[in-house]
């Protein structure tokens, strides 16, 4: 009896302590758009009552002057849509962790950055974290809705609903070759030299041997670093996961890219280049992160990133020395390229329509966008005579992520970029070859274990192939065998099944 009493009293304490914290979540009965509120938005902003909005996005924050910049932005936002935005600009390294908690705890926020490579869009949609926007979007953000091509909205849809607002910009991806002007001029490369493929580099690499000191790395061409466009493939589930199609294959037949001719050629070429002394072999092999070498200017040619109009000037401004980026392939539009930068609205947002209006404003108000993107004129950047801008280094605010905040077509053009850079970009977006899978997104749930295994196999071997280290031929055989064991076939079959289902719609 006494014991039961004791246990009961403890239980009571437990209930008292934790009962309060438990499910205080009210089931959102009015999920979706509450259109009864704020229906009078068309008649002047006087009608709008003041609201507070919270907006999460990542970057190289914190900056010294960010509060000043946000206050400046809020002046405009208050005047235009009578809202005050709390900008939660978080450091890159934390954003995902923090968002997971915020979403899990149903914390009150309105807008968050989401994409296919960071703060994953599809898994968050599957969790019900985001609000479907089919009704809200044309109603409260008509300009944004019209400015983005229909096929782009298709790419964001999950079960027919749009959940992400595309930050419209260069979505067509083109494989790119990067070089420092100072280095390659010695090799006789000019600004208008054209390369069709990586093989064209061979004579220049031969030349470089006599000119540069041995600690210079002649070329970095890593398979996963955006070589997919260079070899005309689209990797559906990620760079490290088997499952690809050829971009010009209308039937979208799925294969394992690590068994493709293109990959074999990549392996073979690196093997030969090591023999000829074109690759920086061992130094690269042991490096944790090869990007550092590029930033230190120790690499002559590197393949990676994506080419776009005005990229030379953008890179030059960013690095502080003249830098050239040259296209290595045609431009392709894939689902991945479009959903790489979006904003979503919280499914529990108290003011979804106002959040949508804020996004409309960000995408239409040139002044507001540029405050967020560049900071305050005269303090963080200077406007030059021809209307282009120059960032002032170390001025206390320089996120350097034009692509993240909203449509970049409102951005001030950077010094040295062609003045019609945005027109060129739009043209490329529209003319680029669309992937046969545009709008398809792969649901990895049923094969996630195989995917993780394959990824670790690829991570284990890929460096040997990228830098031609070790006995490549026997390693390749081992690699393919291990991939098969890890379930590569299961993954490609599953992708094929989902594609067939999607195509049969």
């Amino acid at each position: 009896m006494k014991r039961i009493k004791g246990i009961l009293s403890i239980l009571l304490i437990v209930i008292l302590v934790f009962g309060f914290a438990g499910c205080s979540k009210d089931n959102n009965s009015d999920s979706g758009a509450d259109t009864s509120k704020g229906a009078s938005t068309d008649e002047g902003n006087k009608e709008l009552e003041h609201v507070n909005l919270t907006w999460y996005y990542p970057g190289s924050y914190p900056f010294k002057d960010q509060e000043l910049v946000f206050a400046e932005a809020n002046k405009i936002i208050k005047e235009k849509i009578n809202a005050t935005v709390e900008f939660k600009a978080l450091p890159w390294g934390e954003y995902e962790d923090k968002m997971r908690v915020v979403m899990g705890a149903d914390e009150d926020y309105d807008i968050a950055f989401t994409s296919n490579w960071f703060n994953n869009y599809h898994s968050n949609v599957a969790m019900g974290a985001y609000l479907p926007l089919n009704d809200l979007l044309p109603k409260y953000a008509p300009t944004l809705y019209k400015s983005v091509p229909e096929k782009f909205w298709e790419a964001t849809k999950v079960d027919g609903q749009i959940y992400g607002l595309v930050n419209y910009q260069i979505s067509a991806r083109t494989a790119a070759l990067n070089m420092k002007k100072e280095n390659v001029e010695k090799l006789g490369i000019a600004k208008d030299t054209v390369f069709d493929s990586i093989d064209d580099l061979e004579p220049y690499l031969e030349k470089a041997k006599g000119i540069f000191p041995p600690d210079m790395i002649p070329i970095l061409s890593e398979w996963r670093m955006s070589l997919q466009e260079a070899v005309g493939q689209e990797w559906i589930a990620g760079a490290s996961i088997p499952g690809a199609i050829y971009l010009n294959d209308k039937n979208a037949k799925v294969f394992n890219q690590f068994k493709s001719e293109e990959f074999k050629k990549h392996v073979e070429r690196n093997k030969i280049w090591v023999e000829k002394g074109y690759l920086g072999g061992d130094a690269l092999f042991s490096a944790k992160d090869t990007g550092t070498f590029v930033n230190q200017g120790k690499v002559i040619f590197s393949v990676g990133g994506t080419w776009k109009p005005g990229v030379d000037e953008e890179e030059t401004a960013r690095r502080g020395y003249e830098f050239w980026v040259k296209p290595l392939s045609d431009a392709y539009v894939t689902t991945g390229g479009i959903i790489a930068t979006m904003h979503a609205i919280n499914s529990n947002s108290k003011n979804p329509e106002r959040a949508m209006m804020l996004m409309e404003l960000m995408n239409t108000d040139v002044e507001l966008y540029n405050i967020i993107a560049y900071g305050i004129e005269g303090t963080h950047y200077n406007k030059l005579e021809d209307g282009t801008v120059e960032v002032i280094p170390d001025a206390g605010y320089n996120p350097g992520t034009l692509w993240l905040h909203a449509s970049t077509f409102n951005a001030h053009i950077m010094k040295g970029m062609p003045l019609d850079v945005w027109e060129q970009t739009k043209k490329i977006n529209l003319e680029a070859q669309a992937s046969p899978l545009l709008g398809f997104s792969f649901n990895p749930e049923s094969v996630s274990a195989e995917m993780a295994q394959c990824e670790s196999v690829v991570n284990e071997f890929i460096k040997s192939f990228d830098f031609g280290v070790g006995d490549v031929d026997s390693l390749y055989e081992k690699f393919v065998e291990k991939l098969d064991k890890a379930g590569a076939q299961t993954i490609t079959d599953e992708i094929q099944r989902q594609i067939d289902e999607w195509m049969g719609k």
């Binding site: 004791g6 009293s9 190289s60 914190p62 990676g304 390229g337």
Partner: protein, 296 residues
């Protein structure tokens, strides 16, 4: 009993010594390497790799770190404040509950012990925890860095075991002399438990000093950022950017981040003070203080 039998031979002694010397060196080397890197110039590192003895001493890294001295100083103050308050309150709370659990004459000892130990094995997970703290309006206060770690089941168990070694007779004799429970605890039990308190105190101090997790979750304001979080934020940013360079649709800028040498300088600033604190605790790591405190 012949003492010599228990003495290891000279060969065995030297083997044991060698093993421990090697082990010590292994522990010290990384620390020395970090110090050496922080005192090298960046170009040396790039050209010659890491060295145990810098080819020439340069204080550039520390200059970079202290280019914004207010931020570092402020974070230091926050960390010291949190660790200081944390160790005081943490010891108090943990030792009080541990003492109650160690007393055989406390009726619900078993149930309460179970309640404490249960939390070691099962917890609500991150989200409920986050909810509780958010609902209490703790985020963005200094308390959010202190309160969540105050009561720790593991430390309570260590202390309880320690208090159990104190003979009940001492407590009884104090009672007879007219001391009340609280006074007995403060005046007699705590002084007798110095070694245990010092051990747990050091753990608590290290826990608070090295914690950045709480700050990551609950602090948005720059003025409340502790030192370790400043460091971890920098490192995780660098790591993220180098991992995702080729994933991002646009450019990601690494130039805003300090380089290798500056990062190591930060490490020294963050870990250094604890190296100096440790010796002060060491003298308490000796047991057997209760022997002879009772006669008969």
């Amino acid at each position: 009993m012949n003492k010599r039998l228990n003495q290891p031979g000279p060969l065995l002694t030297s083997i044991i010594h060698t093993i421990f010397i090697l082990f010590t060196v292994l522990c010290i080397l990384p620390v020395l390497l970090v110090i050496s890197i922080s005192l090298s110039s960046e170009s040396d590192i790039i050209n010659n790799g890491f060295r145990l003895i810098p080819s020439k001493i340069s204080f550039d890294a520390f200059k970079v770190v202290f280019s914004n001295p207010m931020q570092i100083l402020n974070s230091y103050l926050i960390t010291i404040l949190v660790a200081g308050l944390g160790i005081i309150f943490g010891l108090l709370i943990n030792s009080m509950i541990a003492y109650a659990l160690s007393r055989k004459d406390y009726p619900y000892r078993k149930q309460l012990s179970f309640f404490v130990i249960f939390t070691m094995l099962f917890n609500g997970g991150l989200v409920p925890w986050y909810l509780v703290i958010s609902k209490l309006n703790l985020p963005n206060t200094i308390w959010v860095l202190i309160l969540p770690y105050l009561a720790n089941a593991w430390y309570i168990i260590i202390l309880r075991t320690f208090f159990k070694t104190i003979p009940i007779a001492i407590i009884e004799s104090a009672k007879i002399d007219g001391s009340n429970e609280f006074k007995t605890f403060i005046k007699i039990i705590l002084p007798l438990s110095k070694p245990g308190l010092a051990t747990v105190g050091l753990f608590i101090l290290l826990m608070y000093w090295n914690d950045w997790w709480l700050a990551m979750l609950y602090i948005d304001q720059e003025k409340l950022i502790p030192l370790q979080y400043l460091l971890s934020r920098m490192m995780s940013n660098i790591e993220f950017l180098s991992k995702n360079m080729y994933m991002a649709p646009g450019t990601l800028d690494l130039s805003n981040f300090p380089n290798e040498t500056a990062r190591m300088a930060m490490c020294i600033l963050a870990a250094g003070p604890m190296l100096f604190v440790f010796p002060f605790f060491q003298k308490y790591f000796v047991r057997g203080l209760t022997i002879g405190s009772i006669k008969g």
